[in-house]
């Protein structure tokens, strides 16, 4: 187990280093001159040269890279040239928004995908199951941003049932965790809770549907596999059937892989959330990345890429460890 942990930890560290190297390379091949962007539009050539000197852009590349690593190490991620604030303070506001959206859609994804998967595997009416399977497979291929856009047109534009975007209408709840739903629940501010949930519905669903099809397919294959297992045959032979069999044996046997897959879906949802956030003007990291990219504001881009990449790496690591704890064979692989 210790060897497994060390190996995985080293892998995660290597991945993070790769990420750092990658982001470094990205800033050096940017089409815009970083010094020019940093100095501002009206800077004279002399000012640009001074900024270049200050940023160390004339140093040899290896030196720049180590300088960059050092900066990261002491937690200096630079400023956003657009908002004129340290990137870290921008991100500390954006990340909870993205996290709330992704977590919400992950719950939705499971609530939609898992029952469909169970029904397809065990349902009596296989005709209905075939249709559901087709829908699930189609959902896997439907572009999230098209769903988001059409949902916005229909539910906000045509019907006016749901808000067009944003996180909340009215004042946000007292800040504790920066997650509006949790904060409003903790402070007992139920009108804010309602509004926050109301704003989550459209973006959450648009993101969730995108991956719920995948979860349904996976759940079905897992449940089918568990149904063939010896202990299920024994349980059946002992007279257990129907709901009892499913809840006590099948669900338990297939829960671990399904939860694992859900953890790993986090990465897909993070990626997909970039577009969905931009459509619903969600004040999260995806939106931040896109606006920063558009204005060649590279410090926020690097920071976002690092934060999201690290979040993904950490989740991968945790999922691996949980899997190893639950199934010792993983360690031996």
């Amino acid at each position: 187990m210790l060897r497994f942990l060390t190996r995985r930890l080293l892998g995660t560290v290597a991945m993070l280093l790769g990420l750092l190297l990658g982001t470094f390379v990205l800033t050096r091949v940017l089409p815009a001159d970083p010094a020019r962007v940093a100095a501002g539009l009206r800077a004279t050539p002399k000012q640009v040269a001074a900024v270049r000197e200050q940023l160390g852009l004339d140093d040899p590349l290896w030196r720049q890279f180590f300088g960059y690593l050092h900066q990261m190490w002491v937690g200096d991620f630079g400023r956003s040239f657009v908002s004129q604030r340290p990137v870290t303070s921008d991100i500390s506001q954006m990340f909870p928004a993205t996290f709330e959206l992704v977590a919400f859609s992950m719950v939705l994804m499971l609530l939609i995908g898992v029952p469909i998967g169970f029904y397809c595997a065990l349902g009596r009416r296989q005709g209905a199951a075939t249709i559901l399977r087709g829908i699930a497979f189609s959902a896997m291929g439907v572009p999230a941003f098209v769903v988001a856009l059409l949902a916005q047109v229909i539910f906000f534009g045509r019907l006016g049932w749901l808000p067009a975007g944003g996180r909340i209408s009215g004042a946000p709840p007292t800040t504790i965790t920066h997650l509006y739903t949790v904060d409003s629940l903790l402070t007992g501010n139920f009108s804010a809770l309602g509004s926050a949930l109301w704003h989550l519905v459209l973006p959450g669903f648009s993101l969730a549907i995108y991956r719920a099809g995948m979860v349904a397919r996976f759940t079905e294959s897992q449940v089918r596999k568990v149904m063939e297992a010896d202990h299920i045959r024994t349980a059946k032979a002992k007279g257990l059937h129907g709901l009892g069999l499913v809840t006590r044996h099948v669900a338990r046997g297939s829960a671990v892989p399904i939860l694992t897959i859900a953890g790993l879906e986090f990465g897909w949802l993070l990626g997909g959330s970039v577009l969905v956030e931009s459509i619903y003007s969600w004040p999260g990291m995806g939106n931040y990345i896109l606006t920063s990219v558009a204005s060649f504001d590279y410090n926020p881009v690097i920071m976002c890429v690092l934060v999201l990449g690290s979040a993904f790496a950490v989740i991968n690591f945790v999922v691996d460890v949980i899997q190893a704890l639950l199934d010792p064979r993983v360690v031996l692989r």
């Binding site: 996976f218 892989p257 897909w268 790496a313």
Partner: protein, 315 residues
Amino acid sequence: MNRIRKIGEFWLFHTIQGALGLLLVLLALIVAVFGRFAASEESSVTHLGAILQAPSTAHPFGTDDVGRDLLSRVIDGAGYTIPAAIAVVAASVIIGSVVGVVAGYYGGWVNETLMRITDIFLSYPSMLLAIAVAASLGSGLKQTAIALIVVVWAAYARLAQVQTSAVRHRLFMDASEMASSSVTTRLFRHVLPNALPPVFVKATMDVAMCVEWIAALGFVGLGARPPAPEWGTMIAEAREYVLNAWWYVTFPSLALLFVVLGFNYLGGALDTHFFGTTRTLSRKSLRQLALVSDEAVAVSETIVEPVTADEELIP
């Protein structure tokens, strides 16, 4: 009768999914290849007197905000996006296969080095990677294509590596080596053909993914630039007009939707065709599943399993 069934199976017509997929893909390809002859003159002509007209016999899909015929624009978009997506996938297959086959064939430190590099690419949220690379390369279809290749190739490397290391120690490889065949012969005659079906399935589905991503990058302004007839770019332009011109955003979206669904359906049908429906996914593959997509891993496993069974027979 048997023969008819066989032909039906070959053309994937024995499932609705396969038939629909094949139909949509063929339609998309025909439009992509021949559409320009019918449409390209109209698509770039602006008629300021015919702005945002609703669908009619003259303009079946209506017109856009500068009076261009939307049907022609959508058709042109097919000729723009689909070849690009196919090129991206083809390049990724070639790069990934070379890396994966070399890693799987030589094993040892070559394998470790190449696969760890591949892992770094795989272990990153792919949409984010595409956005970051596209952002640093600047906008344009060529840049988008390069960004997508950076994202897509790694999965093929993993797939090819799994396939290659699976057949590496099989009897026929030893026999081939005894017959003093060259490394290239062994790789191209024996390893590659064994790796093809799963790659084929994944490639078909990846075309769908690339079509989607080209549109997605165009939509956020990192891909093709207006006035290029790219669907995502068109959808972005149409956003302002959703309330008073529903057709403007609807038809490019539908075109995108049908092409993506078509390639996905075809990929799914090919998957069933090659590997049957009874495949289940083992827990071992969970990690890869999320990283590589379930098709690829499930497929690679079905290939691997019989091999290990085979090997047990050899003392």
